[in-house]
Every structure is written in structure tokens, then in C-alpha cells.
Amino acid sequence: MSVSLSSVWKTYGEGPTAVHALAGVDAEIPSGEFTVILGPSGSGKTTMLNLIGGIDDVTSGDLLVEDLNLTGLSNDDRVAYRRSTVGFVFQFFNLIPTLTALENVELVANLTMGDGAGRAAEVLEHVGLADRLDHFPAMLSGGEQQRVAIARALAKSPPILLCDEPTGELDFETGRLILELLRKVNREENQTVLLVTHNAAIGDMADRVLRLRSGSIVEDRRNANPIEARELTW
């Protein structure tokens, strides 16, 4: 699915204390593209991701996912959109500690299918955790936890995958493995992947890099020959 942002503003607060997290952003992200959004803290990366994910509302401008304009979408439609269209991967994994790996994924898989246990097992196997199904998050390493989070995001087979600093909490080796996994599912499932990071090196594996500063896109470049994730160094 393609994503289109046209003069998108996101403002927090009002009057003199208003903060423009995004200031008239324009961007076109075609379907199936692996896009890395770079920028320092406070540049508006996560805000942009949240707006595309439908968990936050634009202040002005148009944000279209395929033909659906997210601007002014009703609450129910927004829920339906999140349920059917996007999957999230977070920096801090945000797994539910009282659920096993399988249950964490099944929780989300159930939203789109009656009994999601089979699908949950399938995606966990896909991310290489077939032998960790009954492990609770506290029993998993950071990399494994992030793989569960990716599996959870993939469980609904969303056309768009939104990843917010997915390697921020991981060591270099594990981070690289996670990026490999994300690239793999992007290619295999033809999912549109938007990955937010402050790590510029990761941009080298992307089809496209958007660099944000103070709420505006200051660089929009395409990689003619993106490298494989395993070749990344930082």
C-alpha cells in the first residue's frame, strides 16, 4: 500500500507554547518500499510514524493510505484501519509480560481471524522462534523479544509495517539480525516498511531515506543499490 503525505502539520499545544512536531510535510511512499526515516531526537520521526499508523491525528493537511484519507477519520474507522492495515514494532518491544510469546502474537492474530493460535505459531516460526513459543518475555533475550514483537506485527499480515527504533535497545549483532528479518519480510510479503531510527548507517539498507529536522523533511534520497542488512556496520 502506498502512503501519501500532503502539507501535513502536527502541532502540540496552543498559542505561544505550541510545538510543531511536523511542519507541512510532503512525501509519497510507494507500495512495497522499505523507507528509513532518519533524524535527531525531536525531529518528528515518531510523530510521522504515529500519524501514518493512525494512532495520532494530523492537525492539518492530508494523509492518504492508498485511497483512504486518515485526516478526520472517525474513531471506529481508525480502529478498523489499524486492525487491517498497519503493524507496529516498537523500540521497547512493548510485549505483555504476563503472556507467552505465542499468546502475545495470538492476541493480535485473533483480531483478524477467529482462532489466531495457528497463525501466531506460523509467524513465530517465520521469525525463528519456533522453539520459544511458550516462553514469557522475561525468559527471552532482547533480540528474541523484538522478534516476537515483529511476529506480532506480522500476525495480521498488514500491508504496512511501522517500526520505531526497532534496534534501539539491541546490541549491534542482534540489531543487524532484526534488520535482516525486517528486510526479509518486506521482500517476501511485499509490505511497505517505514523504519524510524536515529542511526544513519541503517539508511544504507533502505530503498529510500527521508531525513527530518525540526518537523520538516530536509533530505529525500533513493538508494540505487541498497546493501544487505548483514553488511551494515555502526
Binding site: D56, F92, F93, I96, E103
Partner: protein, 783 residues
Amino acid sequence: MTPLRHKLLRDIRAQRAQFIAVIVTIFLGVTLFAASYDSYQNLAASYESTFTEFRFANVTMAGGDVAGFAEIARQQPGVESVELRTVGDVPLQVGDLKLLGRVVGMPLDTQPAVNQLRITEGAYLTANEPGTALVEEHMADHFSLAPGGTFEVLSPSGWQTVTVGGVASSPEYIWPARDRQELITSPDNFGVAFVGESLAQEIVGTDRPTEAIVYYVDGEDDQALTELLLAEAAAGGATVSFARDDQPSNAALSEDLKGFEELAVFFPMLFLAAAAMATYVMIGRLVHAQRPQIGVLLANGFTRRQVLGHYLGYGVIPGLIGAIPGAVAGVVLARIITGFYTEMLSVPSTLIRFYPTTLLAGVVFGLVASVLAVISPALLASRIAPAEAMRGSAPAGGGRASILERIVPRLRRLPVPWRMALRGIERNPRRTLFTVLGVVLSLTLVLVSWGMLDTIVNLMDKQFVQIQQEDATVHFAGPVGTGDVLALEEIPGVAAAESVLQSPVVLVGDDRYESLLTTFDSGTAMHRFFGEDGKELPLPDDGLFLGNAMKDILGVEEGDAVQLSVSGYTTEARVAGFINEPLGTAAYASRDYVEAVVGTALPATSALIRYDEGAVVGDVRAELVDLEGVAAFEDANALYDTAQKFMIFFYVFVGVMLLFGGAMAFALIFSAMSVNIAERTREVATLLAVGTERRQISRMITAENMMVALFGIPLGLGFGYLAAKQAMASFESDLFAFDLYIRPSTFVISALAILVVALLSQWPGLRAIGHLDIAKIVKERSL
């Protein structure tokens, strides 16, 4: 089971200690409700069934033209049966003991149409054996009287032996009270015997019945008919007339029922409020801690309703786990209590029923309390903006100096841990408020229970130690002169004897009131009088002292005149003042005053005795009982001792309530403290990381929590006092004056007990600090 349900159950398991505390509190609240409410229903049904089965009189009229009253009653539609009978208080002797008992006339061979008996031993009275008697169960139990046994009764022709034909219980004497002014009796001082009507007339010394009793169609209450009959009785000169509700035994039982009703509302409400508060604090914290999880759920497409439903589950589950067994336990307990109670009182007909509505109501109350408690946090969870939730949560509370520090700037020089403790109190005002409320509720529960005990102990002390000064009462077979009374002082061991004349009296002001007029010697040393302000007053020679309740009933003030009818003689008397007595509402006058009003010298019907110090009571008693003309002997201490024996129930009750109060305080304070500690795990870990000693951190948290608990103490004492006052006021009537009295030591001990509980309830949380794994906390930050 869905993963969300797994999460719910595992979250509960993870915080099992707090949930168990809440569940136990709900369990106790629902158990108390179901037990007391079903006991109330069972007892009310048992009394009602007894009244119908044994045709308990709707109206009783005594004195005056009772045959005329009966005739009027028979003519009224709605009246099913009318009986005339003879009732008289006469001396009885059982073994060596002489007491002022009562004989009640009954038809022979067939039960009367009104106020029937249940024969528990032997057989009903027959014409073949007209000299036999049925002994009321309480008397029979106390003196071990059985069919074939004998006792003496004093008739105008002297003592005569009566054979026990059987043992009976009566709806009139379920609670064996002599009259409304003398509700508390001891079997040593009062007993009832049912005899054939002609024998009753012979014993009492009358040739016609003295009482008319009326039973309505199906025993149904008919207010208008009752008012009509009582008005006729008053106009016809009845000295004692009352409706079923005011019948002495029934009036006493009603007070008791009121107690159960009170118990069924007040205490459960307290427990459920406590459970709700603990749940609210706990789930509020849970939602706060799970903000990122909620964000994930919402971001992944869960609806707000699903999230709301999920968090409501945290109320539903403990609510059901606490309420269902609580309701079942309460219903079972009610059966035990009713059985025990009706057996103790010898209620002729005991009905123990299963009331499904109580079971259902108990479950609903428990569930509603816990669900109401989670509604607010659950709504909050469902309304969280997912993007905001994803950002994680800011530490609770703002960073600024505490109010105390702002008021007293010097406090800012306190060591840092103390400043942290002070600021911690304001950090989460809601949690602080609930901890304070927890202390207030716990203290209320303890003070209401303990206050009841103190009040009753004080009431007994006031009546039997401060007011009644006599050691014994001697009843004469007939009226005697005051000289005969003084002669009693010659008996070894008797220090003083005073004349007393007691007569039923009708006082009329705006309304009428039937009571007892007791005439003492002027300047009596046997009875003390205390005014409304508690100050002792001398017995006046220029008017009557009336019990406080009569002020409102008769609508009179000090100095007003009231109409006084005594022994068929009607006159006007001046109200010299009102006195405060815990038991009954009586009238008192000095012999000089009454003699001046009636214009003749009065005899004495009994004498009040005080023993010499060191006198052997048994010997004095034997001497007095052997005197000719002495019909009965009442030991003042026997009644007090009986009352004291009953106190054991109150001690058990208060003990249980203290235990419950302690458990509730523990549950509440433990929940609040756990949340307090959980909320600051990260900062505690940081403090530990920078080298602060665990002991120092524990001290800081303890200081903060104890300051909050201390703040709740005066509020709890005040609120508890008011609640106890309210609880006692609901028992107030002309029969009992329950002026709340709580000993200062009760306040102190209750406050200390709650503080100790508060201190102990921190232990699990502080212990958890001791086991904090700093590295793990850092890792869990992401979860």
C-alpha cells in the same frame, strides 16, 4: 481462553497478595451482610410464625372494666377472638428461693383463643387436675422444674403448693420481661406460671378477670382498630394497655431485630467501601503501569470497548471470588445464628429458611462494589491516546516542595530522606487520600463495635452501681406500715431499710403514657437521680421526677402539671424535673409529696435493703425470707450478674469486629503501601544503585506511610465517634436510653492498634525492596 483473559488472570496472579486482601475484604463484607440479613429475616419470620401459630394478642388491656373492653372488642369487625383472663404478680417460692413471679389464668382442657402455649414437656391443663401449673420454659430451665415437681405460690389464704403439670413456652414471654419498665429480668427475680383461670383468681385474690386480650382476623395488623381499642381502654380506666408492638417481650425482641438489621447494613457497607477503595487504588496503579500495553492494544486495532471490558475484569473477578463464597458462608452462618438464638430464647416456632434473594443480593453487592471501583481506571485505560501511551509514563507527581515545607521553610533543612518522605505524601494525593480513608474506615469499624460495648458496660454500671443503691428488695405479702420496714434494720447484717411503694400509673399530658410510679422515702439513700446534664439531683418534695423520654411523649416541661391516675385515683401532679436513666422511663416521687397530694399516709409494698459491710449475704437473705409477711426477695446483684454473663457475647462480638477491623485496615493499608512502593520501584532502584542503604530507603518509606496513617487517626477517631453515636441512636426508645459512652482508653488503644496494623502492613512491601533486582528493573523498563 483468549490471550487477553490469560493476561487478566496472570496479572491477578502476579499481584495475588493485593488481590487476596481485596477478596478477603469483599468476602467479609458479603458474609456479614448475608449472615445478619438472613438472621434478621429468619428471626422476624420465626417471631411472625410464632405470633400466628400461637395467636399472639394484637391488643392487651388490663385494669378498669376489662369485661366492658372485651365486649367492645367483640363487636368490632376485624376482631376474631377475645379472651378474659386473670394475670397477677405474686410471690413464688421455688426451693429456698422466693421471687416475685407471675401467674396467668388459662382455660382448662382447651387452649385459649388468644396467646396459646406450646407445651414442651408434660400436658396441657385439665379439669381433672385443676391445681397443676404449666411453668414457663425459662423458669423451668433455671430451676430444673419438670412435670411432677412442685413450687409454692402465695395466695391471700397463704402459701400453697402447686404441682408442675408441664413446661410451656409462650409468645408473650419469648423474652421474659415483667413489663415495659422492667425489660431486663433474672430468672431469680421473675418467672411465669400458667394455671387454671379459677386458681389464678384465687391466687391473685380477685373474683373477676383482670385482663382482656384481643386477636384480630388472621392476626393481621389493623392500626385503626388498635387505636380505637386503646382509646376505649384509656377512657375506661385501663392502667396497662398496649398493642402487639409494645408488648414487653415483643418490644425487647424488636430492639434485638433492629440490631441485626443495623448489622446487615452498616458493617457490610464499611467492608465493601474498603474493598472498593483498595481495588480502586490497585487497579488505578495497574492501568498506570500498563499504559504502554494499552497503547499496543489500541495501536493494533483493539476497540476502546474491548480495553474497557478487559480492565473491568479486574473488578469482576475478585468481586465474584469474594462475593460468591461470602454469600454462601453468610447464608450458612445465618442458619447457625438463628438456630442458636431461637434455642437460647426458646422461641416456640423457629423458621430457618433459604432466601435466594439474600444470596443473590450478597453476590450483587460484592460485585457492584468491586466493579464500581474499577470503572474509573478502566475508563481511563480505554480513553488513553495510543500515541501518548506509547511514549511511556512520566513519574507520578510534580517535583516541588511539600506544603509543610512551604509553610515551615525550616523543614527544608531536614535531611534529604525526610524531605523525600514529606514530598512523597503529596506526590499522589489520591493514594494518600485513600490511605487516610482506609485508616478512617478501619477506626470507624473498631470504634462502633467497641463503643457499643463501652456504652453497654457504662449503662449497666450507671443503672446498677450509680443509680440503684440497694443490695436487695424485699416484697411484702400485703401493704405494710413504714414502721414494719424500719424494723427490718434490727436484723443482723441489715444496715438500712427504706419503704417503697410501687404502683402502675397512667400519666396524661398532651398524650398518655403508662408507667410505674415508685415512691421513695424523702432523702432516699437507695436510689440516686441524675438530670439530663448528668448532675445528681435530690428527690423533690414538690413534684414528680419523670424519665426523660416522657418529656416528648407527654409534651410537658419542668413545672407543668400532668394528670396522674394510680390505683383508680386520679389527681394532678407537678413535674419537678426530668431524669436520665438508661433502663425504662419511670416516674418517681417522695413519700411526703404523694402523701400530701392524696391526703393520707401511704403503706409500703416493698423495702429496699442495704447490707452491713462484711455481712454474710446468704444468712441475711435467709433471715429476711423467713420473716412473716415477706413474700419475695430480690437480689439486686443477681440481675447485674446475669447481665454481666451476657456481656461475654458482646466481648466476643467486639473481639471479632476488632479482628475484622484489623483485617480491613491491613487490606487497605497494605494495598495503598504496595502501590506506593510499586510506583517508585525505579527510583528506589536508582537510590540503591547510587549506594543508599536498603534500610535507609525502608525507613524513608515507612516514615511517609506512617505520617499519612497518623493524619488519618484523628479523623478516624472523630468519624468513628459520630458513626457510633448514630448506631446507638438507632436503638434509642423509651425502653432504653443508649447514651454513647466511649472510654478514653478505647480511643487510645484503637488508634494504637490501627497504627500497629499500618506498620505491619508495610512489611511485605519493604521486604520486596530488600529483594529488588536492580538489573532486572532496568530490563523491565521496556516491558
